[in-house]
């Protein structure tokens, strides 16, 4: 029963992700064969990326760029590995801790099932979701591989899908364990996200050409990279992956039997002295409510910025000649350090945009959970409430951008990379307009289609990222590229900010927020 209920939801989202993974892989492979037709073009590409430490740090090493398979792995796999991990941790915390939070779990546990038995059943259901993710990724990759110019055989395609699913399954298990430790879904997801962040950072340092490649074995994401699908398969790396998953799942099942339903292992203090400072009105409350999540994002942005700054000089030193041209296609100009930072700031732009999106979904969840009524039935107007939330969002996003620039500068300065504070601070502020667009479109959705707020936000975010990553190397029409907010953004500090484009993006965001606000003022409040 629990198994089937969980499986139904996990398989649905696993299938969607599998479809996206497969489609991204196949389209990426096919676009390579169309864009890089001659051996000379492919050699130039290999020369540009093959020993480029910046892209190696961000996307993983690129050993065989002369082949379709090598290029595909380089271009798509790190993004998919990360997306798979995020899917895994969100799905398991949602279907384990989230179900418990909502009280539905208790109804099921009142039946003839133990707490451990229930978790085992739920894990089986989640397993079905991973199988769906793996099968669709493999199937679509294999179908794409049938293309005469691509030629990826069925077994390598399935092995590639296995590598992508491996990251999903490990972080599914991480999420399952944190669901036992934490007392709420958000807390469980935050713990798991921290583990993912550290794994990525360790892997990034290992691949940054600092002579620390051995560190790759200290990161679960490194193990996935070491599977080397499509290029030089090394299934031995499955051993630590399977071992970690088994340990995490065993611990999950064990802990599930030792704790009370609804409670976590990490104690949540039920009582404390009141902290009244911010609780003067809706805006102060918003600050108070978003503080924990924003702190996490800020730490992630600061650490990423610092890391990018640290690797920029050594990575930039490897770039010359044809590399510069290829980086130029990703939007980067200039030489060395600046060009590397230009690419790195794309990652920071995604983080800043995620921070903005999180603010809007948090506002919507106040409404869907019915808590907004407690404020709006008092003399608090809808404008005042929404305006306060948006003010907090703007401040958070601006601070995120500045922080990205300042920490990248600190990292670069420590390596005497010779980049000015001004140019990196400017590059940080340059990250703000795409986030403002995303937030504005989110508010528009919140106003006219409140139940679709997070769908719209994350679809726009995911689409923008996919377009800029796949389209960056070429083979995608301009009208498609133009739909990506990250493509619209100049890749500062490598290129000067395009203020007019930034102005347009900001205007779109403000217009979306205004229209959304007017619609919100007129519509009925809506629950889930």
């Amino acid at each position: 029963m629990i198994s089937r209920l969980t499986a139904r939801r996990a398989v649905r989202s696993g299938a969607i992700f599998g479809y996206i993974f497969g489609a991204a892989t196949a389209s990426s492979a096919i676009s390579y064969t169309r864009f890089y037709k001659t051996a000379a073009q492919r050699d130039a590409l290999a020369a540009a990326y093959g020993s480029n430490q910046a892209t190696s740090a961000l996307f993983g090493p690129a050993p065989e760029l002369q082949t379709v398979a090598g290029f595909t792995v380089f271009k798509i796999s790190m993004t998919l590995i990360l997306l798979g991990a995020v899917w895994g941790l969100l799905t398991s915390t949602r279907l384990l801790r989230g179900e418990e939070d909502s009280g539905r779990w208790e109804l099921l546990l009142a039946g003839p099932v133990t707490r451990r038995g229930a978790v085992v059943q739920a894990l089986r259901g989640l397993g079905a979701g991973v199988v769906a993710l793996w099968a669709l990724t493999g199937l679509i990759t294999a179908v794409g591989g049938l293309d005469a110019s691509v030629r990826i055989a069925v077994w390598p395609a399935l092995y590639f899908a296995l590598a992508m699913a491996a990251s999903a399954v490990m972080f599914l298990a991480v999420g399952a364990l944190t669901s036992q430790l934490a007392g709420t879904r958000r807390q469980a997801a935050t713990y798991a996200a921290w583990i993912l962040g550290v794994s990525y950072a360790v892997r990034l340092i290992a691949d940054a050409g600092l002579g620390l490649h051995g560190l790759i074995w200290a990161s679960p994401l490194g193990w996935v990279e070491e599977l080397r699908p499509l290029t030089a398969p090394a299934p031995l790396a499955l051993v630590p992956i399977a071992a970690l998953t088994a340990v995490l799942l065993t611990a999950t099942v064990y802990l599930a039997g030792t704790r009370d339903v609804g409670a976590g292992i990490v104690p949540d203090r039920a009582s404390r002295r009141p902290q009244l400072r911010l609780l003067r009105g809706p805006t102060g409350l918003a600050v108070r409510l978003v503080r924990p999540a924003v702190t996490s994002w800020w730490v992630a942005i600061a650490v990423s910025g610092l890391l990018f700054g640290l690797i920029a000089r050594s990575a930039g030193g490897t770039i010359s000649g044809s590399s510069v041209q290829v980086l130029a296609r990703l939007g980067s100009r200039g030489n060395g350090t600046d060009a590397v930072l230009g690419v790195c700031f794309l990652t920071l732009a995604v983080l800043v945009a995620c921070t903005a999106a999180g603010q809007i979904t948090a506002a919507r969840s106040e409404e869907s959970a019915g808590r907004l009524e407690a404020l709006l039935t008092r003399p608090v107007s809808r404008w005042r409430w929404l305006g306060g939330r948006l003010l907090v969002t703007v401040v958070v996003v601006l601070a995120s951008g500045v922080m990205a620039g300042v920490f990248a500068w600190a990292g670069a300065a420590s390596q005497h990379a010779g980049v000015s504070f001004g140019s990196l601070a400017e590059a940080g502020v340059n990250l703000v307009p795409p986030a403002v667009t995303i937030a504005g479109v989110g508010v528009l959705a919140f106003g006219v289609w409140p139940r679709g707020t997070s769908i719209v936000l994350y679809a726009l975010l995911g689409w923008s990222l996919l377009v800029v990553v796949i389209g960056g190397v070429g083979g995608v029409g301009h009208w498609v590229l133009d739909t990506s907010v990250f493509h619209q953004m100049a890749s500062a500090p490598a290129a000067p900010p395009r203020w007019e484009a930034d102005g347009v993006m900001t205007a779109i965001g403000v217009a979306g927020a205004l229209i959304g606000g007017i619609a919100f003022r007129r519509r009925d409040l809506q629950g889930e």
């Binding site: 949540d268 039920a270 009141p274 609780l279 409350l285 808590r371 039935t377 107007s381």
Partner: protein, 304 residues
């Protein structure tokens, strides 16, 4: 003349083909305590959400102290305090923090930006009366305790109008008594109370007037005395000798015999029945007014 506390004119809410509330005309005078009854889905909560401006009316209008519910919600909310049937609060805040927030949010709306302070002594008195531990996080509260937070947050404002939507769900009998005491206090102070409930004894104990809602329509509105007058009286007679035939007596219905005891209902004048009974050998005669429960069930076809 002072404005009515609540006034609606043809207030209607439709969701597609479903009419949740159908042309409601309702007037509640300042200082009145009005009960609002109806089974689940009759439109009680819809009425309240319309009055609070949380949803917009398909037709008609509503006013709180003469202020339009849809166009002047903030001004209207300054005059009222609301308790929802489901206490959806912020799980990470403690009870004390929630009360502070809700108190400030209520007080911040004073006219011309002035602040209205919640009477903290009265708040603390309510916290003691309802036996709430304010240091606990909302997450750790039971349903009843979360409900207490909402009740205290509303009562502590001493607003002119209390809008209560099934406010006692989850409260134990002791707290139910504390609630009734607080509503009586509010009435004595001159506050208006609009109480939606399906705990009939609560409404019977507290309310001056009662409205009964059925499928989105207000089918009864009046004092309990008026409603009883319109309803049947239950008469129970015990006979020593022969039992007369009561079925033909004008106004009498639902005659049931149980051994020597006969039960029946009388509508309108009772004299014809008394005449018949006077001729028989009656040893015991009981008559009582219908309870609100009987009135309610009668309205919904569950009773006589």
């Amino acid at each position: 003349m002072a404005a009515l506390a609540i006034r609606t004119e043809g207030l209607t809410k439709r969701y597609g083909d479903v009419t949740a509330l159908d042309h409601l005309d309702l007037e509640v005078a300042p200082g009145e305590v009005v009960g609002y009854l109806g089974p689940n889905g009759a439109g009680k909560t819809t009425t309240i959400r319309l009055l609070l401006g949380l949803i917009s009316a398909t037709e008609g209008r509503g006013e709180i102290f003469g202020l339009d519910c849809q166009r002047q919600p903030v001004e209207a909310h300054r005059r009222l305090a609301f308790v929802a049937g489901e206490a959806n609060l912020w799980p990470s805040l403690t009870g004390a923090e929630t009360l502070r927030l809700l108190g400030r949010a209520w007080g911040s709306g004073g006219s011309g930006g002035s602040r209205v302070r919640v009477d903290e002594a009265y708040r603390d008195e309510l916290v003691a009366r309802f036996d709430l531990d304010p240091a606990k996080k909302v997450r750790a509260y039971s349903k009843g305790n979360r409900q207490k937070v909402l009740l205290i947050a509303a009562l502590m404002t001493r607003a002119d109008l209390l809008v209560l939507d099934e406010p006692t769900s989850g409260l134990d009998p002791l707290m139910e008594q504390a609630f009734r005491g607080s509503v009586r206090e509010a009435r004595d102070r001159g506050q208006t109370v609009f109480l939606s409930s399906h705990i009939l004894s609560e409404v019977e104990a507290l309310c001056d007037r009662v409205g009964i809602l059925r499928q989105g329509k207000l089918v009864e509105l009046g004092t309990l005395a008026e409603m009883r007058h319109l309803s049947a009286l239950t008469v129970e007679a015990t006979f020593a000798g022969a039992i007369p035939d009561l079925s033909g007596v004008p106004g009498v219905s639902s005659v049931q015999a149980d051994g020597r005891v006969v039960r029946c209902q009388v509508r309108g004048p009772i004299a014809p029945l008394l005449k018949v009974l006077a001729g028989a050998d009656v040893t015991e005669l009981l008559s009582r007014e219908p309870s609100l429960e009987e009135l309610f069930l009668a309205q919904y076809g569950g009773g006589a």
